[in-house]
Symmetry: D3
Subunit: 253 residues, 6 copies
């Protein structure tokens, strides 16, 4: 590896304070030879707290990746739910990592049974679907929501810690969770304090994703272009800028 | 029911010929007391043939629904993959039906084992995920792709029929499928001819969705606003017009 | 459709008051161009409250369908558990709909997570198996039994409502159900009052099945005779009347 | 055990030659201290080859058990599909064993991966559902149908052997099955010759069920009357004889 | 069967009092024509209470079987978790039965929904994996741990009974379990007293396994040597005695 | 990180040439700040090609880890099947990574559908169980065995490459696999040449595990000692050396 590994971390939300929090986590987690730039989309919701938010966030996430595709070696989508990760894999050969999947892989390697602690009650279904889709319904024994807004995870750090501690205690005592994933990018950086309070591994999903991205780059593994993740088929896409048109995204050959 | 049931069918693709084909199917399937308007988004890909296309189609689909929410009693998202259907359920109380789920419900009621025949090879993973997510991995015994582009399903009807017949024969003989879902909105209207050729029920997903939408309106069942499908949380969404801002989408009370 | 859609609703139980209650629900749910006749078998248990009841009910259900097969366009088996629905599909080409599957399809279209509220505690296993078999173990998050006898659902309507409200509140608050299926044909007609009390969609399974049957007839979809649901193989069946002998049930050609 | 274990084997079919074949298998499999009586219902189809046949067979199976309940220590339902086994468990405390489940337990104990070879093509769905319901979708790697009628398994023994050998070879070579269950009671007695021809364990389901029934009696384990398998609730059952009325079937206390 | 069925029961633990308790259960369960010898490995943990214990127990279990392979007709591995059962099936053609699988088969035949009551809290994951692997995640509705050490199940019989009764009551009342498996070989012999206290079938796993082993021998079914359970491939195994070398274990021909 | 990350890679097999091949792969994959020592157990089979081999390998694997526990920051068990990984997590707080799980995580991040290509036909069941246990039955679409002995993967590199290419082509063309995991530690180092021949990502499981181990150490995540992976309970373990006795393995506090 003659040059550093360059990773772009894309906050799925358009909330600058959260982007900064994510960046701090990501920078703390990187190896010395890694450079990380954290950014946020130009368009999309301040925070992702439901399906509507999620789907309106994805075009901005994809555009962010597309505009800087040549400058990085790997990309991280920083929202627990991995919004748009399959589409991102179509528009680049370089590895794309979702923070949800990354945190679940880490949890699997340190605990037989784990849980997810997260924000608003309404996202229970989104969290469950993310876990099922990834394959870990049998490993995840607890999903506990705090009722916090995503924005509060940045603006009310102590209250967030206390709320996570409270639901975490239930996950451990009642559901027999042995590790916890922080199910929101806004909770990045709270893992060490929560580990201290709860006595079980707590996974910062952004940090986990940084390691997965470094790993893939170091292994020189790129996204398969064999079938599912081929470059988008050629066709006009109305209402999107030129740089998002398939004709400008061919990376199969 | 003193007024007609008014249904908006939203083509997930921005291809006018396809919108017209979908409309013909939808009009043929409606009950006399139903009015159907088929339309297509202002923004989005000409055709959906992968995850990138799908995610860029969703904002336009949602906008189309939002702009005419007050004028219809139910909404259909016409793309086999049901793009954005959960988000659409957040922005209205009125029923929203995906054509994939509708066609699978119909298939379940007429056959013990069924298959899906569809377009490009690369969407195999999308089709599988749609079926798994809906719950029918044990009922769907065959997914067969033709390699056709979505546009060809409109512009090359005879070739499309022949290709569907060919893969359909394999699905029936080899995989023991007893009915077939047409896994693309562009194939609407081909069901009767294919039934004639193949001798098993062939489900036109758009027609199936029209019946499901009529059913829900007639039953006066609306989307639950208890948790998952509550109106989007209040927050700014950058780069989207005013009519798409959560503050203008509150329908919980 | 030049003639009305004629649907026979077959109460799985031989309890006349229940047949009448089912008929009221069915008539309320039909489209203007639909004619519905509700009936009950000549033989079978007064109410189905276990596997023994269910299996003794099925021959009478099938006989009822066979005797009037030529007079209707579709058939509904009105017992949450869909007793004999696969066999019914063998003896006619015309659509056969079970009320359990119909109500679950409707629930899926209006809620991300739903539950079933029903009668006696002992049928928990039957209800679970019905849900698993249909494919919705991941969507149904709650099964709550009231301990009511089936007959009481007709003879003690207020007590039934109160009992359903009580378990419904637990399903919503504790299990996070966002809609409820009424898991017994005897509960038909209670959906609107329960919706009012509980604030979530409540599905009357009989009404849901009427819409599914109308849909299938309107779509001109008939049961596949390709393999599983072919007419019964020719053979004598001892102890059953002539009209139930396979030789008189051939409808494949 | 001061008296012999008395087991009734109930052929699910009303075909006397088959009852005799089943009896021969059962007698060969019993321990010296076991007495076996094989019988067939008074009513029901000559052979079970679909859902219609199966459901019309169940009342006769149950009646047969009820009429001799006091004379035996355990009961076997001899039809691969285990028709009515849950209902049978409601009407007696004594163990009831289905031959399908018994054969699958045996297969699990002698092979990592096994298959089922059976009769008509149309029962593929029934066989699959039986396996799924029992819990062995991950162990059963092959279902191969011969197209034989059930009656032929008795009247054309050599042809049956040859057909089973042919599909068995495919199951072993192509699907990597390491043992085979004979998926029809009519195939009883063919296991040894097929083992000789194919070189893998072949399970005679009737023989397997005899051992399971002996085991349960010897262990003094009876059917749980805690919830699901309680005696049928009291109610009239129209069109069935007095001895089949719930009031005469109480065995909970 | 001209000679008695000879079964070796191998306690997975090296605790003599437990071996004696297992032997008493096994002797009580055998048919008159069966001879049982219960033994314990020369090497391995006093008790199996976690994965480390389990994996260190397996070589001793296998050695015990190998050393007496020619003297018995079948083998039972007596530890709920079935340690090494697949490997044991490679080193002999004779049937090998795990007590966990045997007890679950029995539970399935007497109850629709059952639970497991067992020792230390930490083995929850092991118990779950054993159930999933066998295929009964849908049948097992309760796993309740007492916190007892395995040794206590022998040395403190009354306390063990009381603890099992306590968790058993929760399994029945709260989880709706209708039968219980004793999830530890050390609990052998407590089934009758617990049945008396709890009113549901309680399965002694050792006794269940004796019946399964007798069944397989009587059926003359041996382990398939077609693929997975072939004799170990020829190779040196360092640090193990000559009698455990593959060259001395060939039993395929 | 002031000192290098020290990782021990434990070959599950006792074949020195294979240990060397594994070491080459591991050294190639490490970051500059990582030190790797590859070793092999003192006891155990030359190669793992079945369950017997696997279970006899585990004590030696665990002993190797225990003897050097204090000298490393993380441990890798290098055998596709992850033998003993749960037990290893009991005897140390430091991360333990199995190469099978690691390779599957990498495959998931670069391909929607992937396969495993491996050695002897008989291990099909072991490979399937490993995939199911980890949670990826829905992602792994192909398992293809070459029939090669494990030793041949080292001694016949060109033949191994050709055999893997042959089965890999089938996995890609027929099963639609889009990436391949090398399902044997002996295949380490062949990934680049196979990628070149096949055109899809090929995952070297040892290399993947090195990245996962580095990741966990860098994240300062250690194995949860909350429940399942607590230190082994105190008890004597007969026939094992003092350093393997639980009393000398306490790491919970």
């Amino acid at each position: 590896m003659t040059h550093p590994i360059r990773i772009q971390v894309i906050n799925g939300n358009t909330f600058a304070a959260m982007t900064q929090g994510i960046d701090e986590s990501a920078q703390s987690a990187r190896f010395p030879g890694t450079e990380i730039v954290t950014t946020q989309p130009q368009i999309g919701p301040q925070s992702i707290e439901g399906y509507y938010d999620e789907y309106l966030a994805i075009p901005g996430i994809l555009e962010t990746l597309i505009l800087s595709e040549s400058q990085f070696d790997a990309f991280i989508i920083a929202c627990w739910g991995d919004p748009g990760v399959e589409a991102a894999r179509e528009v680049t050969r370089k590895p794309v990592v979702g923070i949800a999947e990354a945190s679940m892989y880490v949890a699997n390697m340190v605990a037989a049974r784990w849980g997810v602690v997260t924000t608003g009650h309404r996202i229970l279904d989104m969290i469950e679907k993310t876990i099922h889709r990834t394959g870990f319904a049998h490993r995840c024994v607890s999903i506990r929501t705090t009722g916090l807004a995503v924005v509060e995870t940045e603006t009310a750090r102590q209250a967030t810690l206390d709320a996570l501690e409270a639901v975490g205690r239930v996950a451990i005592a009642q559901d027999k969770a042995e590790a916890l994933c922080l199910g929101c990018a806004g909770m990045s950086g709270l893992d060490h304090e929560l580990e201290h309070r709860l006595g079980v591994p707590v996974i910062d999903a952004v940090a986990a994703a940084v390691k997965m991205a470094e790993s893939l780059v170091s292994l020189k593994k790129q996204t398969s272009k064999a079938l599912t993740y081929k470059s988008p088929e050629l066709k006009p896409i109305q209402g999107y800028p030129s740089h998002m048109q398939p004709v400008n995204l061919q990376r199969d050959s």
